[in-house]
Amino acid sequence: MDIFNKVVDYEVVKKLFFDEMKLLYSGFGGVGTPPSLIDCLIESGVKEVNLIGNDAGFPWIGIGKFIVLKRAKSLIASHIGSNPIAGELMHEGKLKVEFSPQGILNERIRAGGVGLNGILTDVGKGTILAENKTVVKIDNKEFLFESPLTGDVGIVHAAKADTFGNLTFNKTARNNNPIIAMAGKTTIVEADEIVAMGQLDPEEVVVPGIYVNYLVPSGGINWKWIWEIPDKRSQKEHPLK
């Protein structure tokens, strides 16, 4: 592979996904989730996927589009409220959900990305989320051990990328993208714009290209946001149908 030109087409990317893989996906309520890579994931036909990300998206937005197809086996997330179908699958035992406090989830993914073996925190102590966690005693204080998280594959949405994979982001679509980008064994980035090396100011780079394995050009957002939909109550319906 030429590390100075990581741009490939979606057919190449499709073959990087596999059944039962651990997939890290970026985004916060779908904002910052790579739309074309989600479609590519769906088209790849993979199943029994173990998902790790902030939330379950909406049924027609972001990772939610994949979850409603019942091809995810498990999900580690902080929130699934915006995707009622994810909640149903969970209650039916068809999707194993592990909740992690949102900031701790980010730190666990970051720990995986930067090669730490875990973090200690007292966030969540005494709550049901602490029930199965290892407790570590330091100087007579008890902390929860939070394990690092990595993905076999990570998918990320960037604003700009150079061909080496240096990345910038777009406003609050940055959210957990820089963290997710560091924690995949294979990191695939969908970028709104791809430029030559030297076209990004070294100061503006948010994620250095060393973390990126493949780059694809974005097809753009192809869903309607919840606030664009007149009747927000019908969350289970796909509003584009």
Binding site: I80, G87, G103, V123, T127, I128, F169, K171, P178
Partner: protein
């Protein structure tokens, strides 16, 4: 119900003073920026990675510029974007002056339950545990009772706890309560309600600082 939510949010907006850095939860709290007196010099922070967001833009909402609920916001001078890990760094390390969160139940000693109704509703914990953990001044907003009339300000939470002893103030459509050293006290009765209404719809024990104030005058 829309009116009730607006009313609670409007009352909550009065808690915000110049120079504060405030985090707003999803639900009722997210209505606050549009209701806040526009002369208030505040910086709103959100878990997705923004400090300094303003009201809903009047035109050209941007899908890539939103609050934690994904709804469009604007950005003020001096605002910044950063990743979610840093957003929570601010929260856990106590840099947020005030967090205003929605709640399902609050107990009289300030325990907060706001993320799960087992077997029924699973919104998920989101950033609530960390906000409750790190924020000095935590305000819970909620309708005073459930739809079936059951009190939500309780002696002891029956729903799973988000964080213990963290809520400092409760604002509902009926009343404002303060929680100081695990003691609940009634601070304000909202227009249209009586002390009797509040007593009838509150399970928790509370002292009445309104009466105390009258008595002291």
């Amino acid at each position: 119900m829309g009116d009730t939510r607006q009313k609670i949010a409007k009352r909550a907006s009065l808690e915000i003073a110049d120079g504060m850095i405030v985090n707003l939860g999803i639900g009722i709290p997210s209505l606050i920026p549009d209701l806040l007196d526009s002369s208030t010099k505040v910086l709103f922070q959100s878990e997705n990675g923004i400090l300094g967001f303003g009201p809903t833009p009047k035109e050209n909402p941007d899908g890539a510029l939103g609050n934690a609920a994904g709804y469009p916001v604007s950005i003020v001078d001096g605002g910044s974007y950063f990743d979610s890990a840093i957003a929570f760094g601010m929260i856990r390390s106590g840099r947020i002056d005030m967090a205003i969160l929605g709640a399902l139940q609050v107990s009289e000693n300030g325990d907060l339950a706001n993320w799960i109704v087992p077997g029924k509703r699973v919104p998920g914990v989101g950033g609530a545990m960390e906000l409750a953990y790190g924020t000095k001044n935590l305000i819970a907003l909620m309708q005073h009772c459930e739809k079936d009339g059951k009190p939500k300000i309780v002696r002891k939470c029956t729903l799973p706890i988000t964080a213990f002893n963290c809520v400092k103030k409760i604002i509902t459509e009926m009343a404002v309560f303060q929680i100081t050293e695990a003691q609940l006290s009634l601070e304000e009765i909202m227009a249209g309600y009586t002390l009797k209404d509040i007593e009838n719809h509150t399970e928790a024990e509370f002292t009445n600082s309104l009466q105390l104030k009258e008595h002291n005058q």
